[in-house]
């Protein structure tokens, strides 16, 4: 009693697998972005923290201006932007953990769609959300005296560098989201990763203001390198090799983290 293939639903338009995969990614990225419009409070809460950081630190630490070659606002805002995009990437972990909890990942896995699309759609939507947050924080920065002296295109380049870095990092958070038992734990699991990276770094203060034993770590970790690149481009100061180091980190991170996340996606059910 052998079984012969049944006629399958004649639903597939004649398209290559690549263009179908792109369509899947767009479908899911759109779905994730719709959530931003439907639950706007989530975006508000994402923005509140960095806005408070800008306002508080700008006035509390302005005495640091002496050490930061000029006013502290111009030093602070690029750092906050980098930190915010990284925190934004944590949303990837939370979003995927929620999809898993609600059974949506199970549904997606039983559909004839591209396997990668669930992860790519999520990470791209989170990057798009980061763009919105970047614009808002830049606006708030301007209100409290942020005046980047780099050119407009340098500013755009700086934004692209940090968005790329956060995007590559979000594949690591995708792994965390798919490995965590629930979304609350997923969020908690990201803290030990992002707090040392963003605080033991040049995000808030210059390297030489950090304790000596911390400087070695702080100087060589990717968040500092990305912050230095972004800050130099925005302030119009010499960029050194930080741009290239940041880009290299981004490529290295995604090369390691994406296979990890995809493998976890295959494993779970």
């Amino acid at each position: 009693m052998t079984t012969t293939p049944l006629t399958t639903a004649e639903s597939t338009p004649h398209q290559g697998s690549v263009s179908l995969a792109v369509r899947d990614v767009i479908t899911l990225a759109r779905r994730n972005l719709l959530a931003l419009i439907r639950v706007p409070t989530a975006l508000v809460f994402m923005v509140i923290q960095p806005v408070m950081f800008v306002l508080l630190f700008r006035y509390i630490f302005q005495s640091l201006g002496a050490f930061t070659q000029g006013n502290y606002v111009n030093f602070l805002v690029p750092g906050i932007l980098v930190q915010t995009t990284i925190f934004g990437a944590v949303g990837t972990a939370i979003g995927l953990a929620e999809d898993l909890q609600r059974g949506l990942i199970e549904r997606f896995k039983a559909l004839p769609m591209a396997r990668m699309a669930v992860l790519a759609g999520r990470t791209l939507a989170d990057s798009a959300r980061n763009v919105i947050v970047l614009i808002i924080i830049t606006g708030v920065g301007f209100l409290v005296g942020f005046r980047p002296h780099g050119g407009f295109f340098d500013y755009i380049a700086a934004c692209l560098i940090m968005l790329l870095f956060a995007y590559c990092l979000s594949w690591g958070f995708a792994f965390v989201g798919l490995a965590a038992p629930n979304s609350e734990t997923a969020q908690a699991m990201t803290f030990p990763l992002i707090f040392p990276l963003t605080f033991a770094s040049t995000v808030f203060i210059p390297l030489y203001e950090l304790p000596g034993w911390l400087q070695g770590f702080a100087n060589n970790q990717p968040v500092s390198q990305t912050t230095d690149a972004v800050r130099a481009l925005m302030r119009g100061t010499p960029i050194g090799d930080s741009v290239w180091v940041s880009l290299a980190w981004s490529i290295g991170l995604i090369a390691v983290l994406a296979p990890l996340a995809v493998n976890q996606f295959r494993k779970i059910a």
């Binding site: 079984t3 012969t4 639903a9 779905r31 959530a35 439907r38 199970e106 549904r107 039983a110 629930n182």
Partner: protein, 336 residues
Amino acid sequence: MSEFSVEATDIVRTFNNGEFRALDGVSLQVPTGQVFGLLGPNGSGKTTMVRILSTVLAPTEGRAIVAGYDVVKQPSQVRRSIGLAGQFAAVDENLTGFENLRMVGFLNHMEKSRAIARSRQLLVDFGLADFAHKLTSTYSGGMRRRLDLAAALVADPPILFLDEPTTGLDPQSRQDLWAIIEGLVEGGTTVLLTTQYLEEADRLCKQLVVLDHGKIIAEGTSSQLKSSLGNTVLVLTFSSTGDAQQTLGLIADISAKPANVDGTIIELTVDRGPASAAEALRRIDSSEIVLAGLQLREPSLDDIFLNLTGHKAEDDVKVVEEKLSRRARRKAKAQV
């Protein structure tokens, strides 16, 4: 059309590096155009079986052919032939009912216009037309289940997997869903569904298998299962456990099936309810024991389990809960 839509042979699935065997050599054949039931308590392996057949999870051992394709070697062909409605209504709460269905249509690679037309049609068919453009976070449990089932049907698959489709639904929603499933089968769809309810299996399934600890412990039609069990359960209640124990000695031989004693309650599966009840009453009456209550009821899944395995379905749950994979715990939490 081929005889069987699903053929699974010796499926084994282990979790925690082989520590826990969720499925331990399950074979089944689902005839095309029927409803086939997987009956069993929580943790018996039903959901794992559905996940393997729907390509969500790979089997550790064994082979499964769905719609003529191997679930491991030809997963994309399988996915084009199946619809899956999982145990928890998998709807995106941030989307409307219409957007949920349209998304599933796009992910099935349907033409845009067809995905939209089909989504609209299903919303009408499932009585959700008035709520098509409302966020599903505002839907009731029954509406979510219907939308979830509709999502499984967007691409018109010939084979449908439904994992406990009516668990947690009120009686009316359950009836509605049963009617929908019956309608689909009339239209030629093959359905494999899992359930904990004998009543549901009885109403819908032509054939079924009973799973326990990842193994098939019985198979046949629902009436075969019931008649192998006896038609009625006689429930006797006493005011003390001593009375219950004493009575057990008096009446155990009324049925060939073992009696179940739980504290002050005796349950006895019998073939002829009223006659057996009368006989039990006569014997109790001639002793000193005072009966606190008597009831006759239809056999349940629990009774089938007790009869087939010698333990109650709930005992299974306790054993398995300790062994539950991390994923299952997460799901249980999501349900709360």
